[in-house]
Protein backbone atom coordinates (compact mmCIF):
# COMPACT_ATOMS: atom_id res chain seq x y z
CA UNK A 1 0.00 0.00 0.00
CA UNK A 2 1.27 3.44 -0.86
CA UNK A 3 2.03 5.73 2.10
CA UNK A 4 1.92 9.47 1.50
CA UNK A 5 2.99 12.56 3.42
CA UNK A 6 2.44 16.17 2.39
CA UNK A 7 4.55 18.58 4.39
CA UNK A 8 5.65 22.21 4.45
CA UNK A 9 9.07 23.25 3.11
CA UNK A 10 10.59 23.85 6.54
CA UNK A 11 13.82 22.29 7.76
CA UNK A 12 12.11 21.70 11.11
CA UNK A 13 9.76 19.25 9.32
CA UNK A 14 12.61 16.85 8.55
CA UNK A 15 12.14 15.02 11.86
CA UNK A 16 8.46 14.49 10.94
CA UNK A 17 9.55 13.06 7.58
CA UNK A 18 11.97 10.69 9.34
CA UNK A 19 9.21 9.59 11.73
CA UNK A 20 6.90 9.00 8.74
CA UNK A 21 9.48 6.80 6.99
CA UNK A 22 10.27 4.90 10.20
CA UNK A 23 6.59 4.26 10.94
CA UNK A 24 5.73 3.36 7.36
CA UNK A 25 8.51 0.77 7.12
CA UNK A 26 8.41 -0.53 10.70
CA UNK A 27 6.42 -3.63 9.71
CA UNK A 28 9.05 -4.78 7.21
CA UNK A 29 11.50 -7.53 8.04
CA UNK A 30 14.62 -5.43 7.53
CA UNK A 31 17.57 -4.72 9.80
CA UNK A 32 17.75 -1.65 12.00
CA UNK A 33 20.86 -0.65 10.05
CA UNK A 34 19.10 -0.77 6.67
CA UNK A 35 16.08 1.11 8.01
CA UNK A 36 18.39 3.81 9.41
CA UNK A 37 20.11 4.18 6.03
CA UNK A 38 16.82 4.39 4.12
CA UNK A 39 15.52 7.03 6.54
CA UNK A 40 18.77 8.94 6.02
CA UNK A 41 18.52 8.78 2.21
CA UNK A 42 14.92 10.02 2.23
CA UNK A 43 15.84 12.76 4.72
CA UNK A 44 18.66 13.87 2.41
CA UNK A 45 16.42 13.91 -0.67
CA UNK A 46 13.76 15.91 1.20
CA UNK A 47 16.39 18.30 2.61
CA UNK A 48 17.55 18.89 -0.93
CA UNK A 49 13.99 19.66 -2.08
CA UNK A 50 13.23 21.89 0.91
CA UNK A 51 16.49 23.85 1.00
CA UNK A 52 17.81 23.92 -2.56
CA UNK A 53 14.62 23.46 -4.58
CA UNK A 54 12.27 25.61 -2.52
CA UNK A 55 14.53 27.87 -0.49
CA UNK A 56 12.74 26.87 2.74
CA UNK A 57 9.57 28.63 1.54
CA UNK A 58 7.01 27.57 4.16
CA UNK A 59 4.11 28.34 1.82
CA UNK A 60 5.25 25.50 -0.43
CA UNK A 61 4.94 21.78 0.20
CA UNK A 62 6.67 18.61 -0.79
CA UNK A 63 4.93 15.26 -1.17
CA UNK A 64 6.64 12.05 -0.12
CA UNK A 65 5.37 8.68 -1.34
CA UNK A 66 6.61 5.29 -0.18
CA UNK A 67 5.61 1.97 -1.66
CA UNK A 68 7.02 -1.55 -1.43
CA UNK A 69 6.48 -3.70 -4.49
CA UNK A 70 7.95 -7.19 -4.60
CA UNK A 71 10.63 -6.44 -1.99
CA UNK A 72 11.66 -3.19 -3.66
CA UNK A 73 11.09 0.07 -1.82
CA UNK A 74 10.12 2.86 -4.18
CA UNK A 75 10.24 6.45 -2.95
CA UNK A 76 9.03 9.50 -4.80
CA UNK A 77 9.42 13.07 -3.63
CA UNK A 78 7.46 15.72 -5.51
CA UNK A 79 7.94 19.48 -5.41
CA UNK A 80 7.54 22.53 -7.62
CA UNK A 81 10.78 24.34 -6.77
CA UNK A 82 13.55 25.51 -9.04
CA UNK A 83 16.89 23.74 -9.02
CA UNK A 84 20.04 25.40 -10.27
CA UNK A 85 22.50 22.57 -9.70
CA UNK A 86 22.86 19.26 -11.47
CA UNK A 87 22.72 16.44 -8.94
CA UNK A 88 25.25 14.30 -10.82
CA UNK A 89 27.79 17.14 -10.76
CA UNK A 90 27.22 17.81 -7.05
CA UNK A 91 27.42 14.11 -6.21
CA UNK A 92 30.69 13.79 -8.11
CA UNK A 93 32.57 16.38 -6.02
CA UNK A 94 35.30 14.54 -4.12
CA UNK A 95 35.50 14.54 -0.35
CA UNK A 96 38.96 16.11 -0.65
CA UNK A 97 37.45 19.04 -2.57
CA UNK A 98 34.75 19.44 0.06
CA UNK A 99 37.47 19.62 2.73
CA UNK A 100 39.69 22.00 0.76
CA UNK A 101 36.75 24.26 -0.10
CA UNK A 102 35.41 24.07 3.49
CA UNK A 103 32.02 23.13 2.05
CA UNK A 104 29.25 22.40 4.50
CA UNK A 105 26.83 21.18 1.83
CA UNK A 106 26.78 18.67 -0.99
CA UNK A 107 27.42 15.50 1.00
CA UNK A 108 23.76 14.51 1.02
CA UNK A 109 23.81 13.42 -2.59
CA UNK A 110 26.82 11.23 -1.92
CA UNK A 111 24.85 9.51 0.82
CA UNK A 112 21.75 9.05 -1.35
CA UNK A 113 23.80 7.65 -4.24
CA UNK A 114 25.68 5.29 -1.88
CA UNK A 115 22.61 4.00 -0.04
CA UNK A 116 19.97 3.65 -2.74
CA UNK A 117 20.09 1.30 -5.74
CA UNK A 118 18.37 3.72 -8.10
CA UNK A 119 18.38 7.51 -7.99
CA UNK A 120 16.68 9.63 -10.59
CA UNK A 121 15.63 13.27 -10.78
CA UNK A 122 13.27 14.46 -13.51
CA UNK A 123 10.53 16.96 -14.23
CA UNK A 124 7.08 16.06 -15.48
CA UNK A 125 4.22 18.53 -16.00
CA UNK A 126 6.18 21.22 -14.09
CA UNK A 127 6.55 18.87 -11.14
CA UNK A 128 10.04 17.90 -9.93
CA UNK A 129 10.26 14.24 -9.04
CA UNK A 130 13.07 12.60 -7.09
CA UNK A 131 12.70 8.86 -7.49
CA UNK A 132 14.63 6.42 -5.34
CA UNK A 133 14.56 2.64 -5.15
CA UNK A 134 16.12 0.09 -2.83
CA UNK A 135 15.95 -3.69 -2.90
CA UNK A 136 15.02 -4.93 0.57
CA UNK A 137 15.59 -8.67 0.21
Amino acid sequence: MKQELKISCRKECLSDIRAFVNESLAHLDISDSLLYKIVLAVDEACSNAIIHGNNCDESKEINVELEVIEQILKVKIFDIGEYTQNYKEVGAISLEDHINNKDKGGLGLKLILSIMDEVEFYTKNHLNICQLAKELA
Binding site: D32, E44, K102, D103, K104, K110, L111
Partner: protein, 116 residues
Protein backbone atom coordinates in the same frame (compact mmCIF):
# COMPACT_ATOMS: atom_id res chain seq x y z
CA UNK B 1 12.04 20.78 23.01
CA UNK B 2 15.48 21.14 21.43
CA UNK B 3 16.22 18.34 19.01
CA UNK B 4 19.94 18.84 19.58
CA UNK B 5 21.60 19.52 22.91
CA UNK B 6 25.25 20.49 23.26
CA UNK B 7 27.02 20.44 26.60
CA UNK B 8 30.41 22.13 26.75
CA UNK B 9 33.30 21.69 29.13
CA UNK B 10 36.79 23.14 28.90
CA UNK B 11 39.63 21.17 30.46
CA UNK B 12 42.98 22.93 30.07
CA UNK B 13 43.62 23.06 26.32
CA UNK B 14 40.84 20.60 25.53
CA UNK B 15 37.28 21.51 24.56
CA UNK B 16 34.86 18.70 25.33
CA UNK B 17 31.48 18.71 23.61
CA UNK B 18 28.73 16.24 24.40
CA UNK B 19 26.15 16.24 21.61
CA UNK B 20 22.77 14.62 22.20
CA UNK B 21 19.75 14.15 19.98
CA UNK B 22 19.46 14.67 16.25
CA UNK B 23 22.01 16.48 14.11
CA UNK B 24 20.26 17.37 10.86
CA UNK B 25 19.74 20.32 8.52
CA UNK B 26 17.62 22.12 11.10
CA UNK B 27 20.03 21.70 14.03
CA UNK B 28 23.51 21.65 12.45
CA UNK B 29 23.81 25.43 12.76
CA UNK B 30 23.95 25.00 16.55
CA UNK B 31 27.03 22.76 16.33
CA UNK B 32 28.53 25.01 13.68
CA UNK B 33 28.18 28.07 15.94
CA UNK B 34 29.75 26.15 18.82
CA UNK B 35 32.79 25.01 16.81
CA UNK B 36 33.20 28.35 15.06
CA UNK B 37 33.19 30.06 18.47
CA UNK B 38 35.74 27.58 19.78
CA UNK B 39 38.14 28.24 16.91
CA UNK B 40 37.74 31.98 17.38
CA UNK B 41 38.74 31.45 21.02
CA UNK B 42 41.73 29.43 19.82
CA UNK B 43 40.33 26.16 21.15
CA UNK B 44 41.61 23.81 18.48
CA UNK B 45 41.61 20.47 20.28
CA UNK B 46 38.04 19.28 20.33
CA UNK B 47 36.75 16.09 21.88
CA UNK B 48 33.21 15.15 20.87
CA UNK B 49 31.14 12.65 22.87
CA UNK B 50 28.56 11.20 20.47
CA UNK B 51 27.12 8.68 22.95
CA UNK B 52 23.66 10.24 22.91
CA UNK B 53 23.73 11.28 19.25
CA UNK B 54 20.81 9.34 17.79
CA UNK B 55 20.98 10.61 14.24
CA UNK B 56 23.30 12.51 11.93
CA UNK B 57 22.68 13.63 8.37
CA UNK B 58 24.94 15.27 5.80
CA UNK B 59 24.37 18.69 7.37
CA UNK B 60 26.05 17.39 10.53
CA UNK B 61 28.89 15.78 8.59
CA UNK B 62 29.26 19.04 6.68
CA UNK B 63 30.02 20.91 9.91
CA UNK B 64 32.91 18.56 10.73
CA UNK B 65 34.18 18.53 7.12
CA UNK B 66 34.19 22.32 6.87
CA UNK B 67 36.59 22.67 9.83
CA UNK B 68 39.02 19.84 9.06
CA UNK B 69 41.32 22.07 7.01
CA UNK B 70 41.37 24.91 9.56
CA UNK B 71 42.17 22.51 12.35
CA UNK B 72 44.92 20.80 10.35
CA UNK B 73 46.46 24.17 9.50
CA UNK B 74 46.47 25.14 13.17
CA UNK B 75 47.71 21.72 14.37
CA UNK B 76 44.45 20.97 16.13
CA UNK B 77 41.95 18.18 15.64
CA UNK B 78 38.57 16.66 16.33
CA UNK B 79 38.40 13.35 18.14
CA UNK B 80 34.94 11.76 18.20
CA UNK B 81 34.04 8.87 20.45
CA UNK B 82 31.18 6.71 21.68
CA UNK B 83 29.43 6.59 18.29
CA UNK B 84 26.45 4.27 17.88
CA UNK B 85 26.75 1.61 15.18
CA UNK B 86 24.33 3.43 12.87
CA UNK B 87 26.12 6.76 13.23
CA UNK B 88 29.53 5.14 12.71
CA UNK B 89 28.27 3.28 9.62
CA UNK B 90 27.25 6.60 8.09
CA UNK B 91 30.69 8.06 8.74
CA UNK B 92 32.05 5.04 6.89
CA UNK B 93 29.75 5.54 3.89
CA UNK B 94 31.34 8.94 3.32
CA UNK B 95 34.87 7.79 4.17
CA UNK B 96 35.00 10.23 7.06
CA UNK B 97 36.20 7.53 9.44
CA UNK B 98 39.57 7.81 7.65
CA UNK B 99 39.70 11.60 7.92
CA UNK B 100 38.50 12.16 11.46
CA UNK B 101 39.90 10.43 14.52
CA UNK B 102 37.24 8.17 15.97
CA UNK B 103 37.68 6.36 19.28
CA UNK B 104 35.58 3.85 21.19
CA UNK B 105 35.92 5.26 24.69
CA UNK B 106 36.59 8.58 26.39
CA UNK B 107 39.90 7.26 27.70
CA UNK B 108 41.05 6.26 24.23
CA UNK B 109 39.79 9.55 22.80
CA UNK B 110 41.71 11.59 25.37
CA UNK B 111 44.89 9.63 24.65
CA UNK B 112 45.05 11.33 21.24
CA UNK B 113 45.59 14.62 23.06
CA UNK B 114 48.17 13.34 25.54
CA UNK B 115 50.90 15.55 24.14
CA UNK B 116 49.10 18.88 24.50
Amino acid sequence: MDKLKIEKQVNKELLMLKISGELDASTAIKLDDEINGALESNQINILVDCGDLNYISSAGFGVFVSYIKDLQTRAGKFVLYNLSNNVFETFKILGLNDLLTIADTEKEAKSFFDKI
